[in-house]
Amino acid sequence: MTLDLPLIWVALIAVAVLMYVLLDGFDLGVGILFPFARSPAERDVMMDAIAPYWDGNETWLVLGGGGLLAAFPLAYSILMPAFYLPVILMLLALILRGVAFEFRLHGRRRGKALWTAAFAGGSLVAALAQGLVLGGFIQGVAVRDQAFAGQPFDWLTPYSLLTAAGVVAGYALLGATWLVGKTTDALAGDARRWAWIAAGATAVLLAAVSLATLFAHPDIAARWGLAAGRIEGGRLLTRLPIPVLGALGLAVAAAGLRRGRHFAPFIGAALVFLSGYLGLAVSFFPSIVPYGVDFRAAANDDSALGFMLVGAAIMLPVILAYTAYVFWLFRGKVAAGAGYH
């Protein structure tokens, strides 16, 4: 067996997390935009635009968590206690907004208002919590004797608040551009306006987070060829395609919005996320718990990784195939009253 199993699994989990961010990102984003809808009827359409997908989207989060547990148990067992409070907060928020899909349809007047609020609030809080975890992750996690050794609120800093705001803006962008593709009439017009605002906010916050990261973490800056006062042109040049991809994504989204395209804005938003994600990968690889534990040290033994890889090699193509089928089946604009209720 000459397969580099830990490397394969770190790639698979990275893809699972990226899938999660892109997919659940758009349905969380729709929840974040919920308060801005003009009427309950518009909210119904917004929900119909994501209802067939959200459960599958969220499953990528379970694969990310379960996969981390199974493939990199050491990383999982350090990161979860380190981010105890934001992780629990995220889970509770996901519960409230997840049940709201069904509950909102059954609620009468007050019940419907309650679960509308739960959906919007839960989506926002889940996005914030994920942003706080991201910020805390980039700041680094205190580790001693293969366990988390920091304080309960290590993750809460101005920097992590900045990343949280960035995640919220980015999800709102994904949500708005998704709605541009799935809705018609006044709602699609509103979605376009939301997408412009969210794109601006995402651009500013992504730039701010990037700069803050470079200033706060000389090690990361060095990886980008920007070590302490001098610029390594060669290294910077090889990294440059990543921010260029982000700028390209914004341009695609903007051009799509201006020309009234249906799905180009969403593709553009996804490219922005891909750029940010690759940026993180370049900044951290091969570390899986910044800045002490690299992925090989955290990896499960080859027996477990090999066993799972057999399953993944068979199941992941199948999963991607029927996920694609479901997206294809529900393609096109949402018709009013598309729900089964």
């Binding site: 209802a51 067939p52 997908y53 459960d55 599958g56 499953t59 379970v62 694969l63 968590g65 379960g66 996969g67 981390l68 547990l69 199974a70 493939a71 148990p73 999982y76 067992s77 979860m80 206690p81 105890y84 409070l85 992780v87 629990i88 889970l91 509770l92 996901l94 519960i95 409230l96 997840g98 049940v99 899909f101 069904e102 509950f103 059954h106 609620g107 007047r109 419907k112 309650l114 679960w115 293969q146 366990a147 988390f148 309960p152 499960n300 477990a304 066993f307 799972m308 399953g311 993944a312 199941m315 992941l316 999963i319 029927y322 996920t323 089946l329 529900f330 598309a338 089964y340 209720h341």
Partner: protein, 464 residues
């Protein structure tokens, strides 16, 4: 690790798990029930089956959603609260959980969308296939979870590495550990019974108001068929599962039966007050010799008592003893409800006996109670171990302070109370209206009826 954080983490895990298991144990059975209803509708073209399908689909959607979101919690709680367990045991059970996600969760989630929203998009054959896929998905999910849990009950096929972590040496042994087959059968039958009890109760409730309601008459008979056939089988499977426990987890069995001394001719304690402090039962009502007979098959069989192991290796006896009796008692009551119902069916119709309908309504939640009691037997009976003989629960907990865990436990209680109240309210409201006034049939020109029929009235009353 301070003791408070350990206790709080245990309470939180027990609470979130007990809440979660309510939904899978209902939706595993309900998914299969829906597949049967849709198949029956396709085969016979009787509208009653489709009306029932549409009615129970709504309840399924509500319950499945609650099951999904409370299940996501479990996959993160292993790390947030039991990080040492995660690190030590993940080499063995991690892949089983990963397989559950890959072989079940995605399938269920994707085809649930087709089930709920695909009526206008796919033909009836494909829609039926989606229902069947979801039903199979729920069973596959149960397979992996019971596999992982069975391994924790009685670990085999692994080795301990120098650093204290585990490694699997034989995956077939790990996945199909000795207690797995009986426990898998026991859980799936429990889920089917739980669903049948709810279906029976909801149908009986409608029939109490209108004994002629045609869909509820069909559904009640289907439920009675399940009680009458599955409940007695479940008693036998439970017995087989108990025999396996005797073989591989004798301490747990001693706690279930409150045996303290190792001896032959153990008495069966029908009821008792086991007390770990006095290492015995404060009082008991017992049948001599039957304890050995019922657990080991022979009244002269020597059966181990709790005093054979050190006090620190004994599980909490009182809870295990009584949880088992609640579960077994309800199981017998379910079989009784089935036989009584079958007799009434044969004598002209269960809906003619108000007493039976009331009993069926009363037994509606019995499946949930029995499932939770059964899991208490399984999980508390394994204590003080989280992986029997390998890792103690006290050593498995995360380095997280009591303050954080009390905050999260409180938040879980509040949020779950809100979600449970909402879900229960909506489900009970649907059940109170019954299948006849269910909903507009989303497909179908053929389902449109004249104004003034019950269905049309239901449609008009639906949109707020």
């Amino acid at each position: 690790m301070d003791l408070d954080a350990l206790l709080l983490s245990r309470l939180q895990f027990a609470f979130t798990l007990a809440f979660h298991i309510i939904f899978p144990s209902f939706t595993i059975g309900l998914a299969s029930f829906l597949a049967v209803l849709e198949g029956a509708w396709l085969f016979t073209r009787r509208e009653a089956f489709k009306t029932l399908y549409m009615f129970w689909l709504k309840i399924f959607a509500l319950s499945f959603g609650m099951g999904v979101v409370s299940g996501v919690v479990m996959s993160y709680q292993f790390g947030s609260n039991w990080s040492v367990f995660s690190r030590v045991a993940a080499p063995v059970i991690g892949p089983l959980l990963a397989f559950e996600v890959m072989t079940a969760f995605f399938m269920e989630a994707s085809f649930l969308g087709v089930m709920l929203f695909g009526w206008k998009k796919v033909g009836p054959g494909l829609h039926f296939a989606a229902t069947c896929i979801v039903a199979v998905g729920t069973l596959v999910s149960a397979f992996w979870i019971i596999s992982a849990n069975s391994w924790m009950q009685h670990p085999v096929g692994y080795a301990v590495l120098p650093g204290g972590s585990l490694t699997a040496v034989d995956w077939v042994k790990v996945v199909f550990s000795p207690t797995f087959p009986e426990r898998m059968a026991h859980m799936v039958l429990a889920a089917y019974l739980t669903t049948a009890l709810v279906v029976g109760a909801a149908s009986a409730w409608i029939l109490l108001k209108d004994a002629g309601q045609p869909e509820s008459r069909i559904a009640l008979r289907m439920a009675i068929g399940m009680f009458a056939v599955v409940a007695p089988i479940q008693v036998l499977v439970g017995d087989a599962s108990g025999k396996e426990v005797l073989k591989v987890q004798p301490v747990k069995l001693a706690a279930i039966e409150s045996f303290w001394e190792t001896k032959s001719h153990q008495a069966l304690h029908l009821v008792a007050w086991p007390d770990r402090a006095i290492e015995g039962n404060r009082w008991e009502i017992s049948v001599p010799d039957v304890g050995s007979f019922i657990t080991a098959g022979r009244s002269d069989a020597v059966v181990m008592g709790l005093k054979d192991v050190a006090p620190r290796d004994r599980p909490p006896v009182f809870l295990v003893f009584w949880a088992f009796r609640v579960m077994a008692g309800l199981g017998v009551a379910m079989a009784g409800l089935g036989l009584w119902g079958a007799w009434l069916w044969w004598r002209g119709g269960p809906e003619r006996s108000k007493l039976y309908l009331r009993a069926a309504v009363l037994m509606g939640p019995a499946g949930f109670v029995a499932v939770i009691a059964g899991w208490i037997v399984a999980e508390v009976g394994r204590q003080p171990w989280v992986v029997t003989g390998v890792l103690r629960t006290a050593d498995a907990v995360s380095p997280v302070g009591a303050g954080q865990v009390s905050a999260s436990l409180l938040a879980f209680i509040v949020i779950y109370a809100i979600v449970f109240s909402g879900g229960a309210l909506f489900i009970l409201r649907l059940m109170d209206r019954g299948p006849a006034v269910a909903e507009p049939q989303p497909t179908a020109p053929e389902a449109q009826r004249a104004p003034g029929t019950p269905l049309a009235a239901g449609t008009a009353g639906e949109t707020p």
